[in-house]
Protein backbone atom coordinates (compact mmCIF):
# COMPACT_ATOMS: atom_id res chain seq x y z
CA UNK A 1 0.00 0.00 0.00
CA UNK A 2 2.59 2.54 1.17
CA UNK A 3 4.99 1.51 -1.63
CA UNK A 4 2.31 2.04 -4.25
CA UNK A 5 1.52 5.43 -2.89
CA UNK A 6 5.17 6.55 -2.90
CA UNK A 7 5.60 5.39 -6.49
CA UNK A 8 2.52 7.33 -7.56
CA UNK A 9 3.84 10.42 -5.82
CA UNK A 10 7.21 10.11 -7.60
CA UNK A 11 5.50 9.78 -11.00
CA UNK A 12 3.31 12.75 -10.16
CA UNK A 13 6.28 14.87 -9.24
CA UNK A 14 8.23 14.20 -12.45
CA UNK A 15 5.13 14.51 -14.63
CA UNK A 16 4.49 17.86 -12.98
CA UNK A 17 7.91 19.00 -14.15
CA UNK A 18 7.01 18.50 -17.83
CA UNK A 19 4.78 21.62 -18.07
CA UNK A 20 7.18 23.48 -15.78
CA UNK A 21 10.14 22.76 -18.04
CA UNK A 22 8.01 23.77 -21.07
CA UNK A 23 7.42 27.06 -19.28
CA UNK A 24 11.18 27.47 -18.73
CA UNK A 25 11.89 26.74 -22.40
CA UNK A 26 9.30 29.28 -23.54
CA UNK A 27 10.61 31.94 -21.17
CA UNK A 28 14.20 31.38 -22.31
CA UNK A 29 13.06 31.76 -25.93
CA UNK A 30 10.73 34.72 -25.47
CA UNK A 31 11.73 38.39 -25.56
CA UNK A 32 14.97 38.23 -27.50
CA UNK A 33 16.25 35.28 -25.63
CA UNK A 34 17.89 32.17 -27.03
CA UNK A 35 17.14 30.55 -30.35
CA UNK A 36 14.63 27.67 -30.48
CA UNK A 37 17.13 24.81 -30.24
CA UNK A 38 19.36 26.38 -27.54
CA UNK A 39 16.26 27.37 -25.52
CA UNK A 40 14.92 23.82 -25.80
CA UNK A 41 18.18 22.12 -24.78
CA UNK A 42 19.19 24.55 -22.03
CA UNK A 43 15.60 24.77 -20.74
CA UNK A 44 15.32 21.00 -20.36
CA UNK A 45 18.77 20.65 -18.81
CA UNK A 46 18.17 23.45 -16.31
CA UNK A 47 14.70 22.11 -15.43
CA UNK A 48 16.05 18.64 -14.89
CA UNK A 49 18.75 20.00 -12.61
CA UNK A 50 16.30 22.13 -10.67
CA UNK A 51 13.81 19.28 -10.33
CA UNK A 52 16.48 17.38 -8.36
CA UNK A 53 17.18 20.42 -6.20
CA UNK A 54 13.51 20.89 -5.38
CA UNK A 55 13.07 17.21 -4.76
CA UNK A 56 15.52 17.50 -1.88
CA UNK A 57 13.01 19.79 -0.11
CA UNK A 58 10.86 16.74 0.62
CA UNK A 59 13.30 15.60 3.35
CA UNK A 60 13.06 18.95 4.98
CA UNK A 61 9.27 18.88 4.83
CA UNK A 62 9.16 15.40 6.32
CA UNK A 63 11.24 16.53 9.29
CA UNK A 64 9.40 19.82 9.84
CA UNK A 65 5.87 19.10 10.96
CA UNK A 66 3.44 21.80 9.86
CA UNK A 67 1.41 21.53 13.03
CA UNK A 68 4.31 21.32 15.46
CA UNK A 69 6.70 23.96 14.03
CA UNK A 70 6.00 27.61 14.63
CA UNK A 71 4.95 29.61 11.55
CA UNK A 72 7.73 32.27 11.64
CA UNK A 73 10.35 29.54 11.83
CA UNK A 74 8.76 27.68 8.91
CA UNK A 75 8.58 30.88 6.88
CA UNK A 76 12.20 31.72 7.65
CA UNK A 77 13.44 28.25 6.72
CA UNK A 78 11.53 27.97 3.46
CA UNK A 79 12.10 31.53 2.28
CA UNK A 80 15.83 31.23 2.89
CA UNK A 81 16.09 27.76 1.38
CA UNK A 82 14.05 28.81 -1.66
CA UNK A 83 16.37 31.84 -2.16
CA UNK A 84 19.39 29.55 -1.84
CA UNK A 85 17.93 26.99 -4.28
CA UNK A 86 17.04 29.71 -6.80
CA UNK A 87 20.58 31.11 -6.39
CA UNK A 88 22.07 27.70 -7.13
CA UNK A 89 19.87 27.47 -10.21
CA UNK A 90 21.12 30.82 -11.49
CA UNK A 91 24.72 29.71 -10.83
CA UNK A 92 23.95 26.56 -12.84
CA UNK A 93 22.68 28.70 -15.68
CA UNK A 94 25.89 30.74 -15.49
CA UNK A 95 27.94 27.55 -15.63
CA UNK A 96 25.99 26.44 -18.69
CA UNK A 97 26.71 29.80 -20.29
CA UNK A 98 30.42 29.30 -19.67
CA UNK A 99 30.35 25.82 -21.21
CA UNK A 100 28.49 27.04 -24.28
CA UNK A 101 29.64 30.66 -24.83
CA UNK A 102 27.15 31.26 -27.66
CA UNK A 103 24.28 30.81 -25.13
CA UNK A 104 25.76 32.95 -22.41
CA UNK A 105 24.31 36.27 -23.52
CA UNK A 106 20.83 34.88 -23.97
CA UNK A 107 20.99 33.16 -20.60
CA UNK A 108 22.38 36.19 -18.79
CA UNK A 109 19.38 38.26 -19.90
CA UNK A 110 17.12 35.77 -18.13
CA UNK A 111 18.95 35.46 -14.77
CA UNK A 112 16.39 37.64 -12.91
CA UNK A 113 13.56 35.67 -14.45
CA UNK A 114 15.17 32.34 -13.57
CA UNK A 115 15.76 33.50 -9.99
CA UNK A 116 12.09 34.47 -9.57
CA UNK A 117 10.91 31.24 -11.14
CA UNK A 118 13.33 29.28 -8.96
CA UNK A 119 11.86 30.73 -5.77
CA UNK A 120 8.30 30.06 -7.00
CA UNK A 121 9.09 26.48 -8.14
CA UNK A 122 10.79 25.70 -4.88
CA UNK A 123 7.84 26.94 -2.85
CA UNK A 124 5.52 24.96 -5.14
CA UNK A 125 7.54 21.86 -4.41
CA UNK A 126 7.25 22.53 -0.66
CA UNK A 127 3.49 22.91 -0.96
CA UNK A 128 3.36 19.71 -3.01
CA UNK A 129 5.37 17.85 -0.36
CA UNK A 130 3.11 18.94 2.44
CA UNK A 131 0.00 18.02 0.47
CA UNK A 132 1.44 14.58 -0.18
CA UNK A 133 2.33 14.15 3.49
CA UNK A 134 -1.18 15.16 4.58
CA UNK A 135 -2.82 12.76 2.13
CA UNK A 136 -0.49 9.98 3.20
CA UNK A 137 -1.27 10.56 6.87
CA UNK A 138 -5.02 10.63 6.24
CA UNK A 139 -4.88 7.40 4.25
CA UNK A 140 -2.81 5.71 6.90
CA UNK A 141 -5.21 6.84 9.65
CA UNK A 142 -8.08 5.45 7.63
CA UNK A 143 -6.31 2.13 7.18
CA UNK A 144 -5.48 1.95 10.88
CA UNK A 145 -9.06 2.73 11.83
CA UNK A 146 -10.33 0.07 9.44
CA UNK A 147 -7.84 -2.41 10.84
CA UNK A 148 -8.80 -1.72 14.43
CA UNK A 149 -12.47 -1.98 13.52
CA UNK A 150 -11.82 -5.37 11.97
CA UNK A 151 -9.81 -6.46 15.00
CA UNK A 152 -12.55 -5.36 17.37
CA UNK A 153 -15.15 -7.23 15.36
CA UNK A 154 -13.01 -10.35 15.25
CA UNK A 155 -12.48 -10.19 18.99
CA UNK A 156 -16.19 -9.77 19.52
CA UNK A 157 -17.01 -12.70 17.28
CA UNK A 158 -14.40 -14.85 18.95
CA UNK A 159 -15.87 -14.04 22.35
CA UNK A 160 -19.31 -14.92 21.06
CA UNK A 161 -18.24 -18.17 19.46
CA UNK A 162 -20.81 -20.77 20.20
CA UNK A 163 -19.59 -23.49 22.45
CA UNK A 164 -21.09 -26.84 23.05
CA UNK A 165 -22.85 -26.99 26.41
CA UNK A 166 -20.59 -28.96 28.78
CA UNK A 167 -23.63 -30.60 30.40
CA UNK A 168 -24.29 -32.25 27.09
CA UNK A 169 -20.84 -33.82 27.36
CA UNK A 170 -21.38 -34.98 30.95
CA UNK A 171 -24.73 -36.53 30.12
CA UNK A 172 -23.33 -38.20 27.01
CA UNK A 173 -20.38 -39.59 28.96
CA UNK A 174 -22.82 -40.92 31.53
CA UNK A 175 -24.75 -42.66 28.75
CA UNK A 176 -21.49 -44.13 27.47
CA UNK A 177 -20.58 -45.33 30.96
CA UNK A 178 -23.98 -46.98 31.16
CA UNK A 179 -23.71 -48.62 27.75
CA UNK A 180 -20.22 -49.88 28.57
CA UNK A 181 -21.81 -52.19 31.16
CA UNK A 182 -24.96 -53.20 29.36
CA UNK A 183 -24.06 -52.83 25.68
CA UNK A 184 -20.33 -52.44 24.93
CA UNK A 185 -20.96 -52.23 21.18
CA UNK A 186 -23.40 -49.38 21.74
CA UNK A 187 -20.97 -47.56 23.98
CA UNK A 188 -18.27 -47.77 21.30
CA UNK A 189 -20.76 -46.48 18.73
CA UNK A 190 -21.70 -43.55 20.95
CA UNK A 191 -18.04 -42.74 21.69
CA UNK A 192 -17.44 -42.52 17.96
CA UNK A 193 -20.49 -40.32 17.39
CA UNK A 194 -19.42 -37.99 20.17
CA UNK A 195 -15.85 -37.85 18.86
CA UNK A 196 -17.07 -37.12 15.34
CA UNK A 197 -19.31 -34.30 16.55
CA UNK A 198 -16.61 -32.73 18.72
CA UNK A 199 -14.06 -32.95 15.93
CA UNK A 200 -16.45 -31.24 13.51
CA UNK A 201 -17.03 -28.38 15.94
CA UNK A 202 -13.29 -28.03 16.63
CA UNK A 203 -12.54 -27.55 12.96
CA UNK A 204 -14.67 -24.45 12.74
CA UNK A 205 -12.94 -21.10 12.90
CA UNK A 206 -14.63 -18.32 14.79
CA UNK A 207 -14.96 -16.00 11.82
CA UNK A 208 -15.66 -17.87 8.67
CA UNK A 209 -19.10 -18.88 7.61
CA UNK A 210 -20.25 -22.35 6.73
CA UNK A 211 -23.03 -23.52 4.51
CA UNK A 212 -26.43 -24.30 5.93
CA UNK A 213 -25.94 -27.90 4.87
CA UNK A 214 -22.73 -28.13 6.95
CA UNK A 215 -24.51 -26.55 9.90
CA UNK A 216 -27.35 -29.04 9.55
CA UNK A 217 -24.82 -31.85 9.49
CA UNK A 218 -23.62 -30.66 12.91
CA UNK A 219 -27.19 -30.44 14.15
CA UNK A 220 -27.84 -33.99 12.93
CA UNK A 221 -24.70 -35.29 14.63
CA UNK A 222 -25.66 -33.55 17.85
CA UNK A 223 -29.24 -34.78 17.82
CA UNK A 224 -28.14 -38.32 16.97
CA UNK A 225 -26.27 -38.36 20.28
CA UNK A 226 -29.16 -36.84 22.19
CA UNK A 227 -31.43 -39.45 20.67
CA UNK A 228 -29.44 -42.06 22.54
CA UNK A 229 -30.57 -40.37 25.75
CA UNK A 230 -34.13 -39.59 24.72
CA UNK A 231 -34.74 -42.29 22.14
CA UNK A 232 -38.14 -43.24 23.49
CA UNK A 233 -39.64 -39.78 23.39
CA UNK A 234 -38.16 -37.43 20.84
CA UNK A 235 -38.78 -36.87 17.16
CA UNK A 236 -36.73 -34.64 14.92
CA UNK A 237 -37.93 -33.07 11.67
CA UNK A 238 -35.52 -31.18 9.45
CA UNK A 239 -37.03 -29.49 6.40
CA UNK A 240 -34.54 -27.56 4.32
CA UNK A 241 -35.19 -26.97 0.61
CA UNK A 242 -32.31 -27.86 -1.67
CA UNK A 243 -31.91 -24.28 -2.92
CA UNK A 244 -31.16 -23.05 0.63
CA UNK A 245 -28.53 -25.63 1.43
CA UNK A 246 -25.54 -23.64 0.21
CA UNK A 247 -26.49 -20.38 1.96
CA UNK A 248 -23.78 -19.27 4.38
CA UNK A 249 -24.13 -18.54 8.08
CA UNK A 250 -21.78 -18.30 11.09
CA UNK A 251 -20.79 -21.78 12.28
CA UNK A 252 -22.70 -23.29 15.21
CA UNK A 253 -25.17 -20.41 15.12
CA UNK A 254 -28.05 -22.85 15.52
CA UNK A 255 -26.33 -25.00 18.15
CA UNK A 256 -27.52 -23.06 21.24
CA UNK A 257 -31.06 -23.12 19.87
CA UNK A 258 -31.00 -26.87 19.33
CA UNK A 259 -29.48 -27.33 22.80
CA UNK A 260 -32.29 -25.22 24.27
CA UNK A 261 -34.86 -27.29 22.42
CA UNK A 262 -33.47 -30.40 24.08
CA UNK A 263 -32.92 -28.89 27.51
CA UNK A 264 -36.13 -26.89 27.87
CA UNK A 265 -38.23 -28.95 25.47
CA UNK A 266 -37.48 -32.62 25.22
CA UNK A 267 -36.24 -33.02 28.78
CA UNK A 268 -39.41 -31.47 30.23
CA UNK A 269 -41.66 -34.00 28.50
CA UNK A 270 -41.88 -37.70 29.18
CA UNK A 271 -43.31 -38.47 25.77
CA UNK A 272 -44.20 -36.99 22.37
CA UNK A 273 -41.42 -34.44 22.31
CA UNK A 274 -40.50 -33.02 18.92
CA UNK A 275 -38.06 -30.59 17.40
CA UNK A 276 -38.73 -29.09 14.01
CA UNK A 277 -36.20 -27.10 12.02
CA UNK A 278 -37.29 -25.44 8.79
CA UNK A 279 -35.55 -23.08 6.41
CA UNK A 280 -36.55 -21.02 3.42
CA UNK A 281 -34.67 -18.42 1.43
CA UNK A 282 -35.05 -15.67 -1.15
CA UNK A 283 -32.34 -13.95 -3.19
CA UNK A 284 -30.92 -11.99 -0.22
CA UNK A 285 -32.07 -13.64 2.99
CA UNK A 286 -32.12 -16.97 4.75
CA UNK A 287 -34.98 -17.65 7.16
CA UNK A 288 -34.57 -20.36 9.75
CA UNK A 289 -37.36 -21.37 12.06
CA UNK A 290 -36.94 -23.77 14.95
CA UNK A 291 -39.77 -24.95 17.09
CA UNK A 292 -40.21 -27.54 19.76
CA UNK A 293 -42.84 -28.80 22.15
CA UNK A 294 -42.24 -28.04 25.82
CA UNK A 295 -44.00 -28.07 29.16
CA UNK A 296 -44.95 -24.45 29.89
CA UNK A 297 -45.30 -25.21 33.59
CA UNK A 298 -41.92 -26.87 34.01
CA UNK A 299 -39.61 -25.12 36.47
CA UNK A 300 -36.89 -23.24 34.64
CA UNK A 301 -33.72 -25.28 34.42
CA UNK A 302 -30.64 -23.62 35.85
CA UNK A 303 -27.70 -22.13 34.02
CA UNK A 304 -29.77 -20.84 31.15
CA UNK A 305 -30.98 -17.72 29.46
CA UNK A 306 -27.69 -17.22 27.64
CA UNK A 307 -28.40 -19.51 24.71
CA UNK A 308 -30.77 -17.41 22.65
CA UNK A 309 -29.24 -14.07 23.58
CA UNK A 310 -25.89 -15.42 22.40
CA UNK A 311 -27.44 -16.20 19.03
CA UNK A 312 -28.81 -12.67 18.73
CA UNK A 313 -25.46 -11.14 19.77
CA UNK A 314 -23.66 -13.19 17.15
CA UNK A 315 -26.17 -12.20 14.47
CA UNK A 316 -25.80 -8.53 15.38
CA UNK A 317 -22.00 -8.73 15.43
CA UNK A 318 -21.91 -10.40 12.02
CA UNK A 319 -24.69 -8.61 10.16
CA UNK A 320 -25.79 -5.56 12.16
CA UNK A 321 -29.45 -4.58 12.07
CA UNK A 322 -30.14 -6.53 8.89
CA UNK A 323 -30.37 -9.72 10.91
CA UNK A 324 -33.12 -10.42 13.38
CA UNK A 325 -34.38 -12.99 15.83
CA UNK A 326 -37.90 -13.50 17.12
CA UNK A 327 -39.02 -15.73 19.98
CA UNK A 328 -42.57 -16.77 20.64
CA UNK A 329 -44.52 -19.34 22.57
CA UNK A 330 -47.86 -20.66 21.44
CA UNK A 331 -49.51 -23.04 23.87
CA UNK A 332 -46.99 -25.81 24.37
CA UNK A 333 -44.89 -24.81 21.36
CA UNK A 334 -41.77 -22.74 21.65
CA UNK A 335 -40.54 -21.13 18.48
CA UNK A 336 -37.59 -19.05 17.34
CA UNK A 337 -37.23 -17.42 13.94
CA UNK A 338 -34.01 -16.08 12.49
CA UNK A 339 -33.55 -13.77 9.53
CA UNK A 340 -30.00 -14.00 8.26
CA UNK A 341 -28.66 -11.89 5.39
CA UNK A 342 -27.23 -14.57 3.13
CA UNK A 343 -27.33 -14.04 -0.58
CA UNK A 344 -27.72 -16.65 -3.26
CA UNK A 345 -24.18 -16.41 -4.65
CA UNK A 346 -22.75 -17.30 -1.27
CA UNK A 347 -21.61 -13.83 -0.29
CA UNK A 348 -22.81 -12.01 2.77
CA UNK A 349 -24.01 -8.43 2.63
Amino acid sequence: MAGDFQRQVRYGYWLGWIPLSALVVVLLYAHKGLGVAPALVSGILLSLFYAFICRSSSYMCASLSLSKTRIPRLALIFVSSSLAAAGIWVLAAMGLGMLVPSWSRGLESKFDLLFGLGVAFYLFAVAFNYTVLAVYKARRAELEAEKSRTLAREAQLRALRAQVDPHFLFNSLNSIASLSLSNPGGSREMCLQLAAFLRSTQKLGPLATISLEQELQLVRQYLAIEEQRFADRMQVHLHVPRECQDRRLPPLLLQPLVENAVKHGVSTLNKDAWIRLEARCDSQMLYVSMSNRYDPLAPRAKGTGRGSSLVLDRLRASYGPKASMRLETLGDTWRVELEIPSAKDGTGP
Partner: protein
Protein backbone atom coordinates in the same frame (compact mmCIF):
# COMPACT_ATOMS: atom_id res chain seq x y z
CA UNK B 1 -28.36 -55.54 58.93
CA UNK B 2 -31.70 -54.42 57.60
CA UNK B 3 -31.84 -54.19 53.83
CA UNK B 4 -32.19 -50.65 52.54
CA UNK B 5 -34.99 -50.15 50.03
CA UNK B 6 -33.84 -48.09 47.06
CA UNK B 7 -35.68 -46.18 44.33
CA UNK B 8 -33.99 -44.73 41.27
CA UNK B 9 -35.55 -41.67 39.62
CA UNK B 10 -34.14 -40.50 36.30
CA UNK B 11 -35.81 -39.66 33.02
CA UNK B 12 -33.01 -41.19 30.96
CA UNK B 13 -33.16 -44.91 30.57
CA UNK B 14 -29.40 -45.29 30.19
CA UNK B 15 -28.81 -43.33 33.37
CA UNK B 16 -31.21 -45.61 35.29
CA UNK B 17 -29.56 -48.71 33.83
CA UNK B 18 -26.10 -47.50 34.82
CA UNK B 19 -27.11 -46.89 38.41
CA UNK B 20 -29.02 -50.18 38.61
CA UNK B 21 -26.03 -52.07 37.20
CA UNK B 22 -23.68 -50.50 39.73
CA UNK B 23 -26.09 -51.14 42.61
CA UNK B 24 -26.68 -54.80 41.79
CA UNK B 25 -23.60 -56.15 43.66
CA UNK B 26 -24.76 -54.58 46.95
CA UNK B 27 -26.57 -57.37 48.77
CA UNK B 28 -27.89 -55.12 51.51
CA UNK B 29 -29.65 -52.87 49.01
CA UNK B 30 -33.01 -53.76 47.58
CA UNK B 31 -33.89 -51.90 44.38
CA UNK B 32 -37.67 -51.70 44.58
CA UNK B 33 -38.49 -49.32 41.73
CA UNK B 34 -37.10 -47.37 38.80
CA UNK B 35 -39.03 -44.25 37.85
CA UNK B 36 -38.82 -42.19 34.66
CA UNK B 37 -40.46 -39.01 35.95
CA UNK B 38 -41.49 -37.17 39.08
CA UNK B 39 -45.08 -38.44 39.13
CA UNK B 40 -43.94 -42.05 39.04
CA UNK B 41 -41.47 -41.26 41.80
CA UNK B 42 -44.12 -39.83 44.12
CA UNK B 43 -46.36 -42.80 43.45
CA UNK B 44 -43.59 -45.35 43.98
CA UNK B 45 -42.46 -43.69 47.20
CA UNK B 46 -46.01 -43.78 48.57
CA UNK B 47 -46.22 -47.44 47.65
CA UNK B 48 -42.77 -48.71 48.68
CA UNK B 49 -41.72 -46.26 51.40
CA UNK B 50 -38.05 -46.47 50.35
CA UNK B 51 -35.09 -45.72 52.63
CA UNK B 52 -33.02 -44.18 49.86
CA UNK B 53 -33.94 -42.34 46.70
CA UNK B 54 -31.45 -41.63 43.91
CA UNK B 55 -32.93 -38.53 42.37
CA UNK B 56 -32.25 -36.67 39.13
CA UNK B 57 -33.04 -32.95 39.21
CA UNK B 58 -34.19 -32.03 35.71
CA UNK B 59 -37.04 -34.28 34.77
CA UNK B 60 -40.36 -33.99 33.01
CA UNK B 61 -43.49 -33.12 35.02
CA UNK B 62 -41.88 -32.66 38.43
CA UNK B 63 -38.27 -31.80 39.06
CA UNK B 64 -36.31 -33.50 41.82
CA UNK B 65 -36.93 -30.76 44.37
CA UNK B 66 -40.66 -30.80 43.76
CA UNK B 67 -40.70 -34.57 44.20
CA UNK B 68 -39.05 -34.13 47.60
CA UNK B 69 -41.68 -31.65 48.69
CA UNK B 70 -44.37 -34.24 48.14
CA UNK B 71 -42.75 -37.14 49.96
CA UNK B 72 -43.88 -38.11 53.43
CA UNK B 73 -41.90 -39.61 55.05
CA UNK B 74 -38.83 -38.25 53.32
CA UNK B 75 -36.28 -40.93 52.41
CA UNK B 76 -32.54 -40.32 52.34
CA UNK B 77 -31.81 -38.44 49.18
CA UNK B 78 -28.84 -38.77 46.87
CA UNK B 79 -29.02 -36.34 43.99
CA UNK B 80 -27.65 -37.59 40.68
CA UNK B 81 -27.21 -34.93 38.02
CA UNK B 82 -24.85 -33.57 35.39
CA UNK B 83 -25.31 -30.05 36.79
CA UNK B 84 -23.28 -28.83 39.72
CA UNK B 85 -25.50 -25.73 39.90
CA UNK B 86 -27.91 -27.47 42.28
CA UNK B 87 -25.37 -28.54 44.92
CA UNK B 88 -26.16 -25.67 47.28
CA UNK B 89 -29.89 -26.20 46.93
CA UNK B 90 -29.28 -29.87 47.69
CA UNK B 91 -27.66 -28.95 51.00
CA UNK B 92 -30.75 -26.89 51.74
CA UNK B 93 -32.91 -29.96 51.59
CA UNK B 94 -30.46 -32.11 53.60
CA UNK B 95 -29.48 -34.36 50.74
CA UNK B 96 -27.11 -37.11 51.88
CA UNK B 97 -24.92 -36.79 48.83
CA UNK B 98 -24.68 -35.22 45.41
CA UNK B 99 -23.33 -37.35 42.57
CA UNK B 100 -22.17 -35.69 39.38
CA UNK B 101 -22.72 -37.64 36.19
CA UNK B 102 -20.81 -39.58 35.13
CA UNK B 103 -19.68 -40.99 38.48
CA UNK B 104 -17.41 -43.90 39.31
CA UNK B 105 -18.44 -47.06 41.22
CA UNK B 106 -16.10 -45.89 44.01
CA UNK B 107 -17.87 -42.55 44.29
CA UNK B 108 -21.19 -44.39 44.44
CA UNK B 109 -19.82 -46.63 47.21
CA UNK B 110 -18.98 -43.48 49.20
CA UNK B 111 -22.49 -42.17 48.75
CA UNK B 112 -23.95 -45.47 49.94
CA UNK B 113 -21.63 -45.38 52.96
CA UNK B 114 -22.96 -41.88 53.77
CA UNK B 115 -26.49 -43.19 53.52
CA UNK B 116 -25.72 -46.05 55.91
CA UNK B 117 -24.21 -43.64 58.45
CA UNK B 118 -27.19 -41.34 58.16
CA UNK B 119 -29.75 -44.12 58.47
CA UNK B 120 -28.19 -45.49 61.68
CA UNK B 121 -28.50 -42.06 63.29
CA UNK B 122 -31.95 -40.96 64.48
CA UNK B 123 -33.66 -38.76 61.90
CA UNK B 124 -35.16 -35.42 62.67
CA UNK B 125 -37.91 -35.54 60.16
CA UNK B 126 -39.79 -32.46 61.23
CA UNK B 127 -36.89 -30.10 60.69
CA UNK B 128 -36.36 -31.70 57.33
CA UNK B 129 -39.99 -31.05 56.42
CA UNK B 130 -39.70 -27.38 57.32
CA UNK B 131 -36.60 -26.89 55.27
CA UNK B 132 -37.83 -28.64 52.20
CA UNK B 133 -38.10 -26.29 49.32
CA UNK B 134 -35.91 -23.75 51.07
CA UNK B 135 -33.61 -23.64 48.08
CA UNK B 136 -34.15 -19.98 47.30
CA UNK B 137 -35.89 -20.40 43.96
CA UNK B 138 -39.16 -18.60 43.33
CA UNK B 139 -41.95 -21.06 42.61
CA UNK B 140 -43.71 -21.08 39.28
CA UNK B 141 -46.12 -23.76 40.35
CA UNK B 142 -47.07 -25.63 43.48
CA UNK B 143 -47.13 -29.40 43.53
CA UNK B 144 -49.74 -31.05 45.72
CA UNK B 145 -50.21 -34.73 46.40
CA UNK B 146 -53.65 -36.20 46.69
CA UNK B 147 -53.26 -39.87 47.52
CA UNK B 148 -51.02 -41.12 44.76
CA UNK B 149 -52.15 -38.42 42.33
CA UNK B 150 -50.18 -35.22 41.96
CA UNK B 151 -51.72 -31.84 41.10
CA UNK B 152 -49.70 -28.99 39.74
CA UNK B 153 -51.12 -25.52 40.29
CA UNK B 154 -49.57 -22.62 38.40
CA UNK B 155 -48.75 -19.89 40.88
CA UNK B 156 -50.74 -17.36 38.83
CA UNK B 157 -53.86 -19.54 39.18
CA UNK B 158 -53.79 -19.42 42.97
CA UNK B 159 -56.45 -17.15 44.51
CA UNK B 160 -55.35 -17.36 48.11
CA UNK B 161 -53.78 -19.75 50.57
CA UNK B 162 -55.00 -20.25 54.10
CA UNK B 163 -53.26 -21.96 57.01
CA UNK B 164 -54.94 -24.94 58.68
CA UNK B 165 -52.85 -26.20 61.61
CA UNK B 166 -49.85 -28.01 60.07
CA UNK B 167 -51.37 -27.76 56.62
CA UNK B 168 -52.02 -25.10 54.09
CA UNK B 169 -55.11 -24.96 51.93
CA UNK B 170 -54.50 -23.72 48.40
CA UNK B 171 -57.51 -22.14 46.71
CA UNK B 172 -57.59 -22.00 42.93
CA UNK B 173 -60.86 -21.33 41.12
CA UNK B 174 -63.51 -23.63 42.52
CA UNK B 175 -61.01 -26.11 43.89
CA UNK B 176 -58.90 -26.31 46.98
CA UNK B 177 -55.97 -28.52 47.91
CA UNK B 178 -54.38 -29.40 51.24
CA UNK B 179 -50.66 -29.63 51.58
CA UNK B 180 -48.40 -30.40 54.52
CA UNK B 181 -46.38 -27.20 54.70
CA UNK B 182 -46.28 -23.97 56.68
CA UNK B 183 -47.68 -20.78 55.24
CA UNK B 184 -44.44 -18.96 56.01
CA UNK B 185 -42.30 -21.42 54.07
CA UNK B 186 -44.60 -21.10 51.05
CA UNK B 187 -44.65 -17.31 51.33
CA UNK B 188 -40.82 -17.24 51.17
CA UNK B 189 -40.91 -18.93 47.81
CA UNK B 190 -43.58 -16.77 46.17
CA UNK B 191 -42.90 -13.46 44.49
CA UNK B 192 -43.73 -10.75 47.09
CA UNK B 193 -44.91 -8.51 44.25
CA UNK B 194 -47.71 -10.98 43.57
CA UNK B 195 -48.50 -12.44 46.99
CA UNK B 196 -49.16 -10.60 50.24
CA UNK B 197 -49.76 -11.96 53.72
CA UNK B 198 -52.95 -10.11 54.65
CA UNK B 199 -53.46 -12.05 57.85
CA UNK B 200 -51.53 -14.42 60.07
CA UNK B 201 -53.35 -17.30 58.39
CA UNK B 202 -53.95 -15.92 54.89
CA UNK B 203 -51.72 -15.30 51.88
CA UNK B 204 -53.47 -13.65 48.94
CA UNK B 205 -52.74 -13.27 45.22
CA UNK B 206 -52.85 -9.50 44.60
CA UNK B 207 -54.11 -9.96 41.06
CA UNK B 208 -57.20 -11.74 42.37
CA UNK B 209 -58.21 -9.01 44.81
CA UNK B 210 -61.24 -6.98 43.69
CA UNK B 211 -61.38 -4.35 46.43
CA UNK B 212 -60.88 -3.69 50.14
CA UNK B 213 -63.75 -2.70 52.39
CA UNK B 214 -64.06 -1.59 55.99
CA UNK B 215 -65.46 -4.33 58.18
CA UNK B 216 -65.56 -2.70 61.54
CA UNK B 217 -63.86 0.31 63.07
CA UNK B 218 -60.49 -1.45 63.22
CA UNK B 219 -60.59 -4.19 60.68
CA UNK B 220 -60.84 -4.45 56.93
CA UNK B 221 -61.95 -7.12 54.60
CA UNK B 222 -60.66 -8.05 51.12
CA UNK B 223 -63.21 -8.96 48.49
CA UNK B 224 -61.81 -11.36 45.90
CA UNK B 225 -62.82 -11.33 42.24
CA UNK B 226 -64.85 -14.49 42.82
CA UNK B 227 -66.67 -12.87 45.75
CA UNK B 228 -64.77 -14.58 48.56
CA UNK B 229 -64.34 -12.35 51.59
CA UNK B 230 -61.09 -12.56 53.54
CA UNK B 231 -60.20 -10.88 56.82
CA UNK B 232 -57.35 -8.40 56.69
CA UNK B 233 -55.31 -7.68 59.80
CA UNK B 234 -54.02 -4.23 60.62
CA UNK B 235 -50.44 -4.99 59.55
CA UNK B 236 -51.81 -6.96 56.61
CA UNK B 237 -53.73 -3.90 55.50
CA UNK B 238 -50.57 -1.79 55.52
CA UNK B 239 -48.73 -4.35 53.40
CA UNK B 240 -51.67 -4.61 51.04
CA UNK B 241 -51.88 -0.84 50.61
CA UNK B 242 -48.14 -0.63 49.89
CA UNK B 243 -48.34 -3.35 47.27
CA UNK B 244 -51.43 -1.95 45.59
CA UNK B 245 -50.04 1.60 45.57
CA UNK B 246 -46.91 0.30 43.88
CA UNK B 247 -49.02 -0.84 40.96
Amino acid sequence: MKKLRVIIVDDEKLARTYLADLLSPYEDLDLVAECADGFEAVKACAQFKPDVIFLDVQMPKLDGFEVLELLDPVPHVVFVTAFDDYAIDAFGVHAVDYLLKPFSPERLAQAIEHVRQRSSAPQQLQSLLDDRGADGRLLQRVAVRDGSAVHLIAVGDLDYVSAQDDYIELHSGQRSFLKHQTLTSLEKRLNPEDFVRIHRSTLVNLHKVERIEAWSKDSKIAIMKDGTRLRVSRSGYQKLRQSLDRD
